[in-house]
């Protein structure tokens, strides 16, 4: 990091194109925190203008400087402390030309913090088409700060904005106080000096947050902290109303109310839900019907690659490690890139178009019955890709109880890490045939999704009665205008999510497959003597048959085999043998490891490289000669993977977000116990 880099922070209300502007400014030279998700974490990007390097920080959208959710708290703390080391040099406040009045409210609050800001008015193109014209010079004069008209989507004004960032901004304290009538400016100034605050508004905020206790003073003025806050809103809107007519000219003849017309259908009491159902159905059908082709290619490719590396490299331990350990292990992650890409394509399309908040509107009443909010729908839907961004995006839920319940049940939904496990198990026991237009395996998969959805709601319903909450909770939500999503944003979001998923899951899988391979190819005395034991016992068999016996015995006596045997008594009632036990142990860290482990275990000491599915199909119980993966075992495994919290990253994120060991433990335990019971019931009924 060079010191002469200028730091810029992007601030604004939610849903006004902040991410679009960020992508326009920085393109692909950006990085997010560890996890995917739209502006949930601090995003940083870079660009250069007039040979000055800029660093841009994209902050989550906020509605005011009074925090109602965790997300807002984070931004407000960041903005209020302008003395901190990494405080931005300049702040861009983005407002939408379509929602100017309401967005200016936040602008004035931040402006009063006396920090260097530039006001960027977005969606100028859409506004002008609708007959809304903004006089930027007059606005700049009125609010005393640079104003740039832009359209983040079409690139209009982006260069002007960059040029404005190069120029120095002078900050002078706004002497006029538009946020309180009870406390006079002289009184405020006195308090500011007395408490060593950065500005009068900092002092005012400290009073309303009870950080500065001036109860006597307030009683004397016949007011309270609560009244001060209410009066601030009234005064600020009064101030905005006093100048807005000079700044905005509206030509009613051009008004086009597409959103109202669209909402008539999309929020219709019947059609609204039908359309939402159809959208969900389309998403899941594409996940399986369309993704199946590239997934088959990847599966074939991996198995060819393993063959190729086996024949290319000289025989030996390293060759085996690569072709039987690493390649099939990593292949297990790569195979579900197509599904991740499709899922996030739909998600970012829904988010960008403005439909996401309609889902919240439609679902709020129903979600309340389960102790959650309409805002839980987005975290829950994200959890169908990965519980981690899902749990993090629950930050937007204002009500603590609703938020906690959402976090607790989110990992029950079918995340993409479960998909490869489901795909393999379903393809083993469900025929690949069609009933009418529906693929049976696709229907089975849909069934697994419904199980996930059903149990998460069931769990939420139970938690609703267990967890105590104070206030009934609220929902105040802005429903943005429908807009055509930008292709660039969609692509960047898909790229971010897919690559971070592959990278994060890939790291774990690579490490696990190497460790597993080493554990499977080394062992104690029995392991080393396997060859002589078999030669002695089965000397009437052919050499080839003896080789198979040796391989089986070696694996059974390896360190890995011993580990599997140790837990066998616990998992036997579920219908699992020690080999499946090994896969269970290794997938404690991450579910998708199951497939990699299975393919590693079953390809060790086998000369042919088959696809995972065929290898598992061939697996027979050495005692009974029956297939290991019977219907009962496969269904039992499906149940176990549907409910168990086998994901260390989720446990870590739950702790990070709840800051509570108790709730993290509750989540892990209720899921694991439920998983064991359901797997047990499934196996005992079906066997």
């Amino acid at each position: 990091m060079s010191n002469n880099r200028l730091k810029i922070a992007l601030v604004g209300n939610p849903n006004i194109g902040k991410t679009t502007l960020f992508n326009k400014l920085c393109g692909l030279s950006q990085k997010t925190g560890n996890y995917p998700g739209v502006t949930v974490d601090k995003k940083t990007g870079y660009f250069t203008q007039n040979s000055i390097d800029f660093e841009v920080i994209d902050l989550p959208g906020i509605n005011s400087l009074y925090a109602k959710s965790k997300d807002e708290e984070l931004v407000i703390k960041y903005l209020a402390d302008s003395k901190q080391k990494d405080f931005p040099d300049k702040i861009i406040i983005l407002v939408s030309a379509l929602n100017l009045k309401r967005n200016l409210y936040l602008f004035h609050q931040i402006k009063d913090l006396n920090i260097p800001i530039i006001l960027a008015v977005n969606m100028i193109d859409v506004a002008e088409k609708r007959g809304v014209f903004i006089d930027d010079e007059k606005l700049s004069e009125t609010v005393c700060c640079p104003v740039v008209k832009i359209s983040a989507k079409t690139n209009f004004g982006i260069n002007e904005l960059k040029n404005e960032l190069v120029l120095p901004i002078s900050v002078s304290e706004n002497l006029e106080i538009n946020y309180t009538s009870e406390i006079s400016s002289t009184e405020l100034e006195k308090l500011t000096l007395q408490h060593n605050k950065l500005s009068n508004y900092h002092t005012f905020l400290a009073i309303t947050q009870n950080e500065i206790q001036v109860n006597d003073f307030l009683t004397e003025k016949n007011t309270t902290v609560h009244k001060l806050k209410i009066n601030e809103s009234i005064l600020r809107y009064r101030f905005i109303n006093s100048y807005i007519k000079d700044v905005v000219k509206v030509d009613k003849s051009k008004a086009n109310d597409f959103t109202t017309k669209a909402d008539k259908i999309l929020l219709h009491p019947i059609w609204g839900y039908v359309i939402f159902g159809l959208i969900l159905f389309t998403i899941f059908q594409s996940l399986f019907a369309i993704a199946a082709y590239p997934m088959d290619w990847i599966d074939m490719g991996i198995s060819h690659l393993a063959d190729f590396s086996k024949s290319l490299l000289p025989n030996g331990y390293l060759n085996d490690l690569l072709s039987e350990g690493i390649i099939p292990g990593v292949g297990g992650v790569l195979i579900f890139i197509p599904q991740i890409v499709i899922l996030f394509l739909f998600f970012s399309f829904l988010e960008e178009s403005g439909y996401m908040s309609r889902i919240i509107f439609l679902m709020d009443k129903m979600m309340q019955k389960f102790g959650m909010s309409g805002k839980s729908v987005v975290p829950l839907m994200s959890s169908m890709a990965c519980a981690i961004p899902g749990i993090m995006s629950a930050r937007t839920i204002e009500n603590k109880k609703e938020r906690l319940i959402t976090i607790l049940v989110a990992p029950l939904l079918t995340c993409s890490a479960r998909l490869p496990v489901y795909v393999v198990l379903i393809s083993l026991v469900v025929p690949d045939s069609y009933v009418g237009p529906f693929n049976l395996q696709g229907l089975a998969m849909l069934g697994m999704y419904f199980i996930g959805i059903f149990t998460s709601f069931l769990a939420a319903f139970m938690f609703k009665f267990i967890i105590k909450g104070n206030y009934k909770g609220t929902l105040l939500l802005e429903m943005p205008e429908y807009l055509w999503p930008s292709a660039k944003n969609t692509m960047i979001s898909v790229w971010e999510n897919a690559s971070s998923f592959v990278f994060n899951a890939g790291k774990i899988i690579l490490a696990t497959s190497v460790i597993l391979f080493v554990l499977a190819t080394n062992g104690g005395a029995d392991f080393k003597n396997s060859e002589s034991i078999v030669k002695e016992k089965y000397n009437q068999l052919t050499l080839a048959e003896q080789d198979v016996k040796i391989a089986t015995l070696e694996l059974e006596n390896s360190y890995l085999g011993s580990l599997g045997h140790v837990i066998e008594p616990v998992i036997k009632p579920l219908g699992y043998d020690w080999k499946i036990g090994i896969a269970l142990i290794s997938s404690l860290a991450a579910r998708e490891v199951f497939v990699g482990t299975m393919s590693t275990i079953y390809s060790i000491n086998s000369d042919e490289t088959l696809t995972i599915k065929n290898r598992l199909k061939q697996e027979k119980n050495p005692e009974t000669g029956l297939a290991v993966f019977s219907l009962a075992t496969a269904v039992s495994l499906l149940m176990f993977y549907a409910f168990a919290l086998q994901c260390l990253s989720t446990v870590a994120v739950t702790y990070k977000e709840t800051k509570s060991i108790k709730w993290t433990a509750v989540q892990f335990l209720y899921m694991s116990i439920f998983a064991y019971l359901m797997a047990l019931i499934a196996y005992q009924i079906l066997k």
């Binding site: 009074y66 209410i230 009234i234 109202t260 509107f361 709020d364 609220t474 105040l476 939500l477």
Partner: protein
């Protein structure tokens, strides 16, 4: 005629008279739901679900629970 926001039907226009004190009053005010503001109810979700209103050219959705605090004319 004074009544609360939940009694306004879709496509009807009304003016906010007063907002009764409630834990969310500051938030409502920040969203522009202030006394004197004119609004139009655009959508109501079924089974007494949230209400979507058009106010200051912005669509805001709120629950019935909060809407009861908003007295209109």
């Amino acid at each position: 005629m004074k009544t609360n926001l939940t009694n306004i039907k879709t496509n009807q226009t009304a003016v906010i008279k007063t907002v009764l004190d409630n834990p969310l009053i500051t938030k409502l005010f920040e969203f522009g739901l202030l006394p004197g503001a004119q609004f139009k109810v655009v959508n109501i979700a079924p089974f007494k679900g949230p209400i979507s209103i058009l106010i200051n050219d912005t669509r805001i959705a709120l629950r019935q629970h909060e809407a009861k605090f908003i007295l209109v004319e």
